[in-house]
Symmetry: none
Subunit: 207 residues, 4 copies
């Protein structure tokens, strides 16, 4: 368990360094200095600089998934709306609560090399597939309009989330709080995918 602690110590140091300097600019020297350990110790716990990076990535996806609760067919429209609100807010909060990890996933991992890009694509692909399946459930329930391609739209939604999180972290979004962000994202997304009869229903509410 001592060893597990040391591993985490390195992981956390690497997380900070990667977030500060980016994967490429970050040296193993930087990481070991940040962790306060010797160079060799680093390689006792990770086979390469890239391995830490992958480990960090592997930490993140479960964190996201854990925040998402599937909607079920038994729920009423308003209940579903609330559930989605929780899910969306949950995901955004994970990103915003872990800015270093978010930074990694959104920014650093891209363009390293073919193998690496695939690892990252995998990560997002899983998110997209998850979203796509939710859309398909929504279609079966008659909530989501039948004329969309769920894969294309799932991709668009994940892209929207990524960009919002990234810009929220980097730009002056100061006048926008998390709830505004969630509400806007959700109403944009849902109105974008819901059957227009449902929207009229919800729209009436919202006004």
């Amino acid at each position: 368990m001592k060893s597990e602690q040391r591993r985490n110590q390195i992981l956390e140091a690497a997380e900070r360094v990667f977030a500060r300097k980016g994967f490429h600019a970050a040296n193993v020297s930087d990481i070991v200095q940040e962790a306060g350990i010797a160079r060799g110790t680093f390689y006792l716990y990770f086979v390469s600089k890239r391995a830490v990076f992958e480990a960090l990535l592997d930490k993140f996806f479960p964190l996201l998934v854990s925040k998402v609760k599937a909607v079920s067919q038994d729920q009423g429209v308003e209940e579903i709306w609330e559930q989605l609100r929780q899910n969306t807010k949950g995901i955004l909060k994970v990103f915003l609560d872990n800015p270093e990890l978010a930074q990694l996933v959104l920014n650093e991992a891209v363009g390293l090399d073919k193998g690496f890009d695939e690892k990252l694509m995998d990560f997002y692909h899983k998110l997209i597939i998850y979203t796509k399946e939710s859309l398909e459930v929504g279609m079966e329930m008659g909530l989501v309009r039948p004329d969309i391609n769920p894969f294309v739209i799932a991709t668009a939604i994940i892209g929207a989330v990524k960009e919002l999180v990234y810009d929220f972290m980097h730009l002056d979004f100061k006048e926008v709080d998390l709830d505004t962000l969630v509400d806007n994202l959700l109403s944009f997304t849902l109105q974008g995918v819901f059957d227009h009869r449902i929207i009229s229903l919800l729209g009436g509410e919202q006004d």
Copy 2:
């Protein structure tokens, strides 16, 4: 002008090399070899490897902007819809017709270093601002619902476009053609932002 030609020759060679290998994996050696010039010559036209990269980026934005025609208040709803369709398709086509540049903008530029990321953020920020202003025009015209934050939604839209283009280029989107992509993106986006009364109108059409 002779000198301008030489500069372009290097630029084009670099574009091919960056797209093929990514920014990091690409060497100055690769570029000068691809361009068929001597190492030293490269530095006569660009102060650094990074400078070529920035120059390439500077080529791309005007290309995108040139494809977008502003909608005006005089146009009818259907005319506007068609105009937006043209704009969206235009933008996607620029990306897909210039896969090397697209690859650069979507992938390689990211995570290099702080200064570089800012340059890239600038690029996207301009796209977002442009989109935001279009949404505001739409609001004034009563097309876009007034309860959204145009900046947040503009960010989401650009994110959606980025992700779609990227995945379209990298994943097996084979069963999806460009028109399907445009139609889905557009109907998702527009239904997402339009006032629900307008949607009912258009929705009626679409069914």
Copy 3:
């Protein structure tokens, strides 16, 4: 004595590892793993990786010497011939029966560093001196022709043995068995050194 056992355990493990990977490619990690002990334990019994190596070398010479029985002046020519045959075969057998040690002595130990080379030279030097002294006895007995330089010839003989053993172990000597090897080496060597009157004698026998 417990401690002596542990030392031998390490020695044997090291012998296997060195033979398998060569001195340079072999790590202390490999040795301790092969021995099934902890890294630190290794250094309780040997001050360095090189020290095990030297200990291994020190095991080998007595093994060789034990196989050699000096010829005496009382023996007849044919008895001497048989004795030399036994000696030669004995030496070759020690090499071939201890391929790991042979590999070490012939191959791995060489070129490490100046100090090490000297240690190895010492080893061979002893063999050469031993051979030289035998030649001198032979001279006194009138068996070995008086016009040779016994040191030079002793050196040549040891070199011949080394090369034969080495190549026998590494090359496709498959069609040559140990007895052929011994017979050839011996008849070559002895005819090389014997007085030609003796050779005529033996030659007559051999035909």
Copy 4:
């Protein structure tokens, strides 16, 4: 041709360094320092530390071969004897005139790794094969006795040469001059392989 000079400059520096410290102990740093060039320059001319080493090896074999003139069936026994004397002396001189290269070939190359050992084995194997073929010619001419295995004896001869050269370079052979060395080696070798009737002939002469 300038480039050829630089290559040779590095080659010579490496030769000195390898001879002084051995392949393993020699660093690229040592080589570039000895050559008076920058680290990077080294890699402009050789892809690796090992590559210089192989280049050095490749220089040596032709040097040896060039000194050897084949004996022909038309020559009388004494002429052949003289020719072999020239060959042997020539080979020994190449070794002794190029002590650094000799050192490399005899000492440093061994035990590096499997691939390397093979390269070296190849080198010696060629020498052995060449010698074996000479023995076979001698057999056909009735000079070499028919009861030996030419491959085994060729191996023994090469081993003898290697050891003599090596020890001549390292040990106190001071009282032995090159001619003594050649004469001893030759008379040992030839008497070892010649038919005893020939030896009687030559032996008579020699007395």
